[in-house]
Amino acid sequence: MTSNFYLQLFRLSWKALRANAFRSFLTTLGIVIGASTIVIVVGLGEGAKRDIEAQYSNMSVTTIIINGPSTETAPSKLSPDDIPALTTIPTVKDVVPMLSGKVNVTTSESTGSWTVVGTYPNFADVAKLTYVKGGFYGQTEEDEHTKIAILGATVAEELFGKRDPDVIGETITLGKKDFAIGGIIDYRGGSFGPISIDESIFTPYSAGYRYVLGKNGKFSFNVNASDISVLEPTMNALAVALRGTHNLGPGAVDDFRLRDMGATVASAQSSSQTMAILLASVGLIVLIVGGIGIMNIMYVTVSERTREIGIRKAIGAKDEYIMWQFLNEAFILTSVGYLAGIVVALAIHWLLIGMGVKIVFVPWSLILSLVVTFAIGIFFGYAPARKAASLDPIEALRYE
């Protein structure tokens, strides 16, 4: 069998499929959907994974967030007064208090509602901030309740209508008090504990508490343990220390909540992974159904073309040639289905990206889809091809 033989074989199969173009199209549809589903699912999985990574990119796995309990039975006693007790724990690396709340913000250009965060100067180091203009405040401003505001990248862009506006020293009104703009932070993406850095305005804790947020602000601590291995004992020690400073006796309920970010990140990642596996199995099931469709149609084709098979055998086609011909037809259906599936998948990618859905094109998904699609197409094409090859030529010739 020469390469010319395969070329002719391909031509014959193509002709046979063309003769039943609409049916071939319907048969292929299952493969198209299955092949594209795999590519899309992998893309969605990757998109979700990157989204989670970006969301938590500012968080360290050693981070522990402390905030008030979700059920507001009693006001939380969390406050900067807890800090000395917390920092004495040897495995605690740093403690950053944050008081945040939505506030009306006015500049010379516009107004809007933004999150104001009152925090200690060490926030800048812990969050590893970099700036397009100016910088963060220091301990002096904290001690003197200085009305200075540092803007997140998105806040600056929205308030002043352009990226990285040159507005250092200009006045910004937070609630009712005028603050001076001291710096603009580089674009970061993601979140830092309960807040998004890009969408927040930072002030010294003292000024934020006294002039802007007061008792309406939500308080939380961002604590880092010195190492992931001591996360568990550190959390226990933090709880003990807070119960002490809040004077909670035995049996009293905690008025705070500890959350370790490592566990949060891990659970978010694993849930996105579960989702991806779920979607991938949907793709596989679609493909198997598509494969059964191919098998079904190939069986119909074989019985419809029984006489043709008889003729081919009578004029000298060997069993394996007949088998090759039908396998080849399954192969062509699968190939066309795969290629169309890829085009559909890319189109859907493009559409979803346009709609703002987080989906990332992953090149290896094409290979995965190829392998799975062809394995299924050939697997389900084999049985009908085998049947065609084993037909008795005399019976086949008599078939009406």
Binding site: G310, I315, G316, A317, K318, I394
Partner: protein, 224 residues
Amino acid sequence: MIKLKDITKSYYIKDVEYPILKGIDLEVKSGEFVALMGPSGSGKSTLLNIIGALDKPTKGQYWINEQAVATLDSGKLAEIRNTYIGFIFQNFQLIPTLSTFENVLLPSFYAGQEQRDKAKELLTRVGMADRLENKPNELSGGQRQRVAIARALINNPELILADEPTGNLDSKNGAEIMQLILSLQKKDKKTILMVTHDPQIAKLANRIVHLKDGVVVKAIKNDK
């Protein structure tokens, strides 16, 4: 050319034996034209299928050019059908999705090399040169049988097996087809074995072999 010795064929349905051929001895010389006659159920089509390597005998020996055929596997039988034998069927047996030209080409494709020039030449000889691209359903019965004859000749086989080739044709077309088949013997020196019901057609053969209930009842030599 071909030699059959004690060819027996039985079908078994639920272990009950139904004998179709009960020990056929037959010899056909190279270049000879033999007509097979007999009532329905006499086993003539089964005999033709065995000679055509489409079917295997239950018992007995069969040689084509000294080559024992009865014991070959299906791949070898396919090769024999492809190279030694050209079939002409009562109902033409052309592949409906292929054109005239492609139908004629097909046996040469299975032989490993498409004989495109020869296919055109043969179609010209049977008077179908202007119908190369037509599908079988666009042709009359007589035209289809011409295409089938061209197909039977493409691999230049020594033996032509015809199963009532004029059975589905009117008398005019039937006569033309018979002229073509006779020319295969005279001009191309082919050996021809033909099943027929028509005594007029059988008279064109060198020899008539009568079958009844699976045995040869008489053989008549025609003087031509």
